[in-house]
């Protein structure tokens, strides 16, 4: 396959960036998108140029490291897929592909396609957990959880924290990410004890980090590699209001 690539290059957070054209003539349809970028980087190294920086690690769609905006869509055209699980068979010979970083003011650019998503960690730090001591747990089957409850919690817990939801949102809202953690924990009996403080702290932290408000356009769900549902946002809002009303 021959590809014409326009890739965002930017040295650092304070320098201007621009789209640069690259040509690749030896891509094959079975390659993953990241393997295609590896091939571009190999060309760059052979020309003595610095490589395109991008985050990636497991390349199995689960670590959440990778993510870029491909032809205007976070993680590219495949539904329910992270960039590492996108394969070149989704493109045509001769295609032009534009590749940019996830953009949001709460995700400062580090270099090229690499962005700083530590704001997500700080949202979890603010209260996205169950306060339980490691060695002091009750017998596991003493907490009965129905199959439906468990699978509802699992659906939310499946979030890989990649940030595509933020990048797809016109307000750069982190509501899908935050709500996934909120509903994962509140849907389990052991997570209900801290439900009020948790949701308030996490929502406050989300605002402090500079993420925008959610206006429910559902763009986040459309690009989420784990297909996390926006219904979690509705539940988070309900939980937040409930907490604020002291219910």
């Amino acid at each position: 396959m021959e590809l014409n690539l326009r890739i965002w290059r930017q040295d650092g957070p304070d320098t201007p960036g621009q789209l640069v054209n690259y040509h690749l003539n030896n891509a094959d349809p079975g390659m993953s998108f990241l393997e295609m970028l590896d091939a571009v980087n190999e060309q760059l190294i052979n020309n003595g140029q610095r490589v395109i920086e991008f985050d990636h690690d497991c390349r199995e769609g689960i670590c959440g490291s990778c993510g870029m905006v491909i032809n205007g869509r976070p993680h590219g055209p495949a539904q329910g897929s992270s960039t590492c699980q996108l394969h070149m068979r989704s493109f045509q010979n001769g295609d032009q592909i534009t590749i940019e970083p996830f953009r949001a003011s709460a995700f400062p650019i580090i270099r090229d396609l690499k962005v700083d998503r530590s704001a997500f960690d700080r949202i979890i730090d603010s209260g996205g957990y169950i306060s339980t001591n490691i060695a002091a747990a009750p017998e596991a089957n003493s907490i009965l959880i129905s199959k439906d409850e468990a699978s509802h919690a699992f659906d939310a817990a499946a979030c890989i924290g990649c940030g595509a939801c933020v990048a797809s949102c016109k307000n750069a809202s982190a509501a899908l990410f935050t709500s996934a953690k909120v509903t994962h924990l509140v849907n389990l009996p052991q997570g209900k004890v801290e439900r009020s403080t948790r949701v308030v702290q996490m929502v406050n932290q989300m605002d402090t980090e500079g993420f925008g408000a959610c206006s429910f356009t559902e763009a986040c769900e459309a690009v989420c590699p784990q297909q996390i549902s926006v219904s979690h946002i509705a539940q988070m809002n309900w939980e937040y209001n409930r907490a604020k009303l002291g219910m």
Binding site: E53, E60, A135, K147, A150
Partner: protein, 636 residues
């Protein structure tokens, strides 16, 4: 002589007696002590969270942008625990026995028993953290089984068990970050260990954004940095998995045990092209319902549905009727290689076997199979474009888990005082073959339960000691060595990218020290690796600079260590003149082609001491078995 410090007394009492008698650090003193933890997976992250919870000041380092991304996240199938919820006869002893047997009698009894013993509490802890394990309709926890066992003791969260456990660990970390007890350093990679008079006193790390080289001192240091199977380049490991921290510790005096014991997983996706950067694992749990077969006639290239049952060879069921498709990994992987080598391989590169769900779907219905493995089928389709509900999966063996690692005693301390290794980066619990769903277990119990007790035993006598000053000569020396290496790497400006060397090393190791090895292949491997290492230091081409984000430089600092470790793996495999578990030496096999172990000659752990010049020195930890009868493994 290596002292493993195994407590006296009957095996089922060793851990409780140890805990009852080990020295403690009181809460007021814990907050005065600093512990460095490298790695934020289930072992390192779990240790950091547990130590933070106890009140120690913890500095937690990971090379990822977030602690949540450690490669524990990718484990799919499950975590074992001897809960006996299914009333199928499971208990701690049986689980211990299965793991000892599965490891082909090359692991340490006391450690393995402790792992089984603590498994029960682990599930309780995870459930309390909110890990959404699979549930039965009545609300109790569900189980399934894995290779090498005849009970159902594996707890799972769909095919994302590792991710769910890691989110639990990560939330325990977050809680301690908020409490101010964990200081988190993401995008920081350990590049050297600082040692003074045989004791680990600090680390040298590189900030991956600024390139700054930093010095950090601690009262004790814990490595939870995972395994090194990425040394094969094509493996199920994440791209960043590496041996650097462990290897540098080895070069500073920590012994490395059984480095040639590498598990080849039988059910990964096969390599499909020359650009392939990794092989994706398909959970072993698929073997609960999937049947493995190849066309009986070699070179048969009909599509699988056109091959009638009479012309299929369900070779695992044929050769190992008692365990069938659930034979342990080493046996299943070698059996697949045998079929592929004999020309029965399938797929475009004829390097795979079929994993077929036709019969399971006919028996249980598509919906049931979908609910058990839906996300795995989805993942398979994303990567290959093939619907495995209709066409059998193509699977092949690939390097997966390293049983070898830093030698540790019962307290998980290495041969360097104050340096601990937990999870996959130590060697202790899996022998020469790890049973499925024991890796998450070992990582978790090492981090959550064992280290918090054993590290206190060490720290209790050092309460009055201040932290080592980071301007001492040992820090100076380690930092300048790191800077020199980086400068040298960047100055070579040769003609080949880092990946070329990594791929070449991987291919050499797969060929010479892979699924089977021989004296001839290992000698060849050693020679080729030495040549490749020399070529690397003359011809590697790294663009970019030292004081900026530079992923090529990061790769190079890892590959330079792999190029040394690879040689030691071959040396270790060469010296072990027997076949055991994942270590299959072609010269030592039975007439039927099964492994031929030599307990009299090799019933020990090989622990290698590094020397700056010349061959490494072999130390032996003899293995004695008191609670089990050592016998030949038989899965027929």
């Amino acid at each position: 002589m290596l002292d493993a410090k195994i407590p006296n007394g009957p095996i089922e009492k060793k851990w409780s007696e140890y805990q009852a008698t080990c020295a403690l650090v009181n809460a007021a003193n814990r907050k005065k002590m600093t512990v460095i933890v490298i790695g934020s997976g289930l072992a390192g992250g779990g240790a950091a969270a547990a130590l933070g919870e106890l009140g120690y000041h913890v500095k937690l380092f990971c090379f990822h942008d977030s602690t949540r991304r450690a490669h524990s996240v990718a484990a799919q199938g499950g975590v074992n625990a001897a809960k006996n919820y299914q009333n199928d006869g499971d208990n701690v002893y049986r689980m211990f026995y299965d793991a000892i047997k599965g490891g082909d009698y090359r692991s340490r009894e006391a450690n393995v028993y402790r792992m089984a013993e603590l498994s029960v509490r682990l599930i309780d802890t995870c459930v309390a953290q909110g890990v959404p394990f699979a549930r039965e309709y009545g609300g109790s926890l569900g189980n399934r089984s894995f290779g090498g066992v005849q009970v159902e003791r594996t707890f799972y969260a769909q095919g994302q068990t590792g991710q769910q456990l890691l989110m639990g660990t990560n939330s325990a970390i977050a809680r301690q970050v908020k409490a101010g007890r964990i200081e988190r350093f993401s995008r920081h990679e350990m590049l050297d260990l600082v040692v003074k008079n045989g004791r680990a006193i600090g680390v040298i790390v590189r900030d991956a954004i600024t390139g700054e080289i930093e010095r950090h001192a601690a009262h004790a240091i814990v490595l939870g940095t995972g395994g090194y199977a990425k040394i094969y380049y094509l493996s199920t490991m994440a791209m960043g998995c590496n041996a650097t921290a462990a290897w540098k510790a080895h070069k500073r005096g920590a012994f490395l045990a059984n480095p040639s014991f590498v598990q080849v997983h039988p059910t990964s996706l096969p390599a499909l092209g020359k650009h392939q950067s990794k092989l994706t694992l398909m959970s072993e749990s698929l073997r609960n319902d999937g049947r493995i077969w190849v066309p009986a006639r070699s070179g048969d290239d009909r599509s699988p549905e056109k091959i009638p049952d009479s012309e299929r060879d369900y070779y695992l069921e044929r050769k190992y009727p008692a365990f069938g498709n659930l034979t342990p990994r080493d046996i299943a992987a070698r059996a697949a290689k045998e079929q592929i080598d004999a020309g029965h391989g399938v797929g475009p590169m004829r390097n795979a076997v079929f994993l077929d769900f036709r019969d399971a779907i006919a028996q249980h219905g598509r919906e049931t199979i979908q609910s058990r493995y839906g996300n795995l089928f989805g993942m398979y389709q994303k990567i290959t474009g093939i619907d495995a509900y209709v066409t059998p999966m193509l699977i092949a063996p690939s390097p997966h888990f390293t049983m070898g690692g830093l030698w540790v005693d019962y307290e998980l301390m290495t041969t360097l005082e104050g340096l601990y290794a937990c999870g996959e980066c130590n060697f202790a619990d899996h022998g020469s073959n790890r049973l499925g769903a024991n890796s998450l277990l070992q990582a978790c119990v090492d981090g959550y339960f064992i280290l918090p007790s054993t590290i206190g035993n060490f720290l209790s006598s050092r309460i009055k000691e201040p932290l080592s000053p980071t301007d001492g000569p040992e820090f100076d020396q380690a930092e300048s060595k790191t800077r020199e290496d980086i400068q040298k790497l960047l100055s070579i400006k040769g003609s080949q990218p880092v990946d070329y060397f990594h791929r070449t090393l991987g291919a050499t190791l797969w060929d010479c020290c892979g699924i089977s090895r021989s004296r001839e292949s290992l000698n060849r491997g050693i020679e080729q690796i030495r040549e490749l290492r020399e070529q690397f230091w003359n011809d590697v081409n790294i663009t970019g600079g030292a004081h900026e984000p530079n992923s090529e430089l990061e790769k190079a600092t890892r590959v330079m260590d792999f190029l040394e470790l690879g040689e030691l793996m071959c040396i270790d495999a060469l010296h072990r003149e027997e076949s055991c578990g994942a270590h299959f030496r072609e010269e030592y096999q039975t007439k039927e082609g099964e492994s031929l172990r030599n307990d009299e000659g090799f019933g020990y752990v090989s622990a290698w001491q590094h020397r700056a010049e010349g061959e490494p020195i072999l130390h032996k930890e003899p293995l004695s078995f008191e609670a089990v009868n050592v016998m030949t493994r038989n899965y027929k």
